[in-house]
């Protein structure tokens, strides 16, 4: 289970980083979302992975660590708010700047290159 879990986290982080490095606003928002999913999974695992253990003392023979679950909950809420903000900002940037490139200098040359290749 640990192996599968860590592979999931790793793949999510890799996808997130790749998408963020695309330097266009929509992939970046997707990348940030994936990164925050990976972070949530990672935080959850910091209390050790266990099966059939309640977070309440006495409800099961052994108990799981409740704190990471509280941390994940907080991180999810904050991540949700931040994603909402970045989506709105990306839409505003698209409207203000006329394109979805994050960098100024790269924008024109990238467009030309992409156009000429096609």
């Amino acid at each position: 289970m640990e192996l599968l879990y860590s592979i999931c986290v790793g793949v999510l982080v890799a996808c997130g980083v790749f998408l963020i490095l695309r330097a266009r606003s929509f992939p970046i928002v997707l990348g940030l979302t994936m990164l925050s999913y990976a972070v949530n999974l990672f935080l959850f695992a910091s209390g050790r992975l266990s099966i059939n253990q309640a977070v309440i003392l006495g409800a099961s023979p052994q108990h799981a660590d409740p704190l990471p679950q509280a941390l994940v909950l907080t991180a999810i809420v904050i991540g949700f708010a931040m994603t909402a903000f970045s989506v709105i900002l990306a839409i505003r940037a698209r409207a203000d700047l006329g394109n979805d490139f994050v960098n100024v200098q790269g924008s024109n040359s990238t467009v030309k290159k992409a156009g000429s290749k096609k």
Partner: protein, 502 residues
């Protein structure tokens, strides 16, 4: 007043909410009046809290009466309360300044400023790493919105950069926290400090990874050398009054580094002692160098001041990495002085830009500034302070920094970098000031139809500037205070006893 420690966080929250409600929400005059008075009350609360901490020593407050290490504690030591006072003073001045019209250029300026104040104060006071993350997010989301205040195209792009880089930073922060919690089993900073020496085997290396990740996040917030690139553009495109307020945001990163570095990685903490010392030291020096080049290369005043903020962040980080009470005390003095003077310079840049028409704040020949004497005198004082020339607080800070580093073997590296950087800053700031104020087209002088600065703006800016002479006149008590704060910080055992439950 055992609940007093929570007031610097709760009161700005309450005032921000009140500012959104009907009597303040609709009427601009009432809103301004309420905002200024709330900021003033927050400042008074903070001063009262300093007084309490001076008399009773470190005070800790368990939120909801959940004792440490299970609940979240707020810890008010001298370092934390002096910084919350600093930020509330800065907020008061910025709110005063904005009342001259900047606050009406977008929505919700005043509530957002108070939310920012709440986040920054919370980050200073909290004794729990996860809670620190939460307050970081509070101050960041307020700062995102403030950055967009009255924004145009350039502003949107700078905001996009700032938001993306900070969201990535938050993700790294959470990973660092998860790593540390996984091996140490606690998130209360004092409790963690007590548990770290007991780590064994592979856990030590995992904790090192977690600690290093934490430093990366703090370096991002503090704008250290490879991670400083977001700062100049963000600060130069934000509205100047907001940039002035942001002058304290890099200090949040610096403060978090001080806290974590001196508690979790204190010299007596076994395998993790002084983790990342070299990185902080050379990172700080490189930041001073790159910031100085930025200052020299700046074409307009706001970029120049943004680079000065980077230089101050570098100086502070290099000082912190020494882990000496003298150096930390010097850093605290320098921090108080540099935050206020950089804020004042941002406000002066704004006033100057408004009176020069199209040239705005670019460092070129243009029409003369309308209120040449008032602005020139203030700018002169602020420039002297930021360079570190004798009569003002920059000089005392500089001497103290040099003296504190002289006791270390590393002064052979630090002194040349710091002194050459000061010289170059002197050249750049002098050039900027003389070109803007003296090198102008006298023909345009009578055609200057710009509005003179509002008295409120002049008042707010001068309050910030005149803190510098005050820091000199009361140098003895203030340096004693800084030393006392540094001693408190370096005596981890005293903190452990106060936080209790351990």
């Amino acid at each position: 007043m055992q609940h007093l420690v929570a007031f610097p966080i709760l009161f700005p929250l309450l005032s921000a909410l009140l500012l959104l409600l009907p009597p303040c929400g609709k009427n601009l005059k009432i809103r301004r009046f309420a905002s200024v008075s709330f900021a003033f009350i927050t400042l008074l609360i903070n001063i009262y809290l300093i007084n309490e901490v001076l008399q009773n020593g470190i005070t800790s407050y368990a939120i909801g009466n959940w004792q440490a290490p299970f609940g979240i504690v707020l810890t008010a030591d001298l370092l934390a309360v002096s910084l919350t006072t600093l930020v509330s003073l800065l907020t008061l001045c910025c709110v005063l300044y904005s009342c001259a019209g900047d606050d009406a250029r977008g929505n919700f300026f005043h509530p957002l400023v108070h939310f920012l104040l709440m986040g920054v104060s919370g980050a200073f006071l909290t004794g729990d790493l996860f809670n620190l993350f939460v307050f970081f997010e509070v101050l960041l989301i307020a700062s995102y919105s403030l950055l967009m205040h009255a924004g145009d195209k350039h502003n949107t792009r700078a905001a996009l950069h700032y938001v993306v880089i900070n969201l990535v930073g938050s993700a790294v922060f959470l990973i660092a926290l998860g790593t540390l919690y996984g091996v140490i089993g606690s998130l209360n900073i004092v409790d963690m400090a007590a548990r770290i020496p007991k780590l064994t085997g592979d856990d030590i290396f995992i904790a090192k990874v977690g600690g290093s990740l934490l430093f990366i996040v703090f370096a991002l917030k503090a704008a250290l050398m490879p991670l400083h690139l977001w700062l100049p553009n963000t600060y130069a495109t934000a509205m100047p009054v907001i940039a002035a307020l942001f002058a304290v945001m890099t200090k949040v990163g610096i403060y978090s580094t001080i806290r974590v570095y001196n508690l979790l990685f204190a010299p007596e903490n076994g395998a993790l002692a002084s983790l990342g010392q070299n990185w902080l030291w050379y990172g700080g020096l490189a930041t001073i160098a790159i910031g100085t080049f930025g200052v020299l290369a700046s074409q307009d005043m706001r970029k120049l001041i943004a680079n000065l903020v980077i230089v101050s962040a570098g100086t502070l980080t290099a000082l912190i990495s020494l882990q000496q009470p003298q150096a930390t005390a010097a850093a605290l003095y320098y921090l108080l002085h540099s935050t206020l003077v950089c804020a004042a310079l941002f406000l002066f840049a704004d006033l100057i830009a408004r009176q020069r028409g199209k040239v705005a704040d670019r460092i070129t020949t243009g029409r003369p500034v309308k209120q040449g004497f008032v602005l020139g005198f203030g700018f002169f004082l602020a420039a002297l302070t930021v360079i570190g020339m004798p009569p003002l607080s920059g000089f005392i800070g500089k001497i103290w920094i040099l003296k504190a580093t002289f006791q270390q073997a590393e002064y052979m590296v630090f002194w040349p970098v710091y002194l050459i950087s000061s010289l170059l800053i002197l050249v750049a700031v002098t050039r900027a000031g003389s070109i803007v104020f003296w090198q102008n087209n006298p023909i345009d002088a009578d055609k200057n139809d710009t509005q003179p600065a509002h008295p409120m703006q002049i008042l707010a800016t001068y309050i910030l500037v005149f803190v510098s002479p005050l820091l000199v006149i009361f140098a003895k008590p203030i340096t004693d205070f800084c030393l006392q704060a540094a001693m408190q910080l370096h005596q981890v055992s005293a903190l452990t006893q106060t936080v209790g439950g351990l």
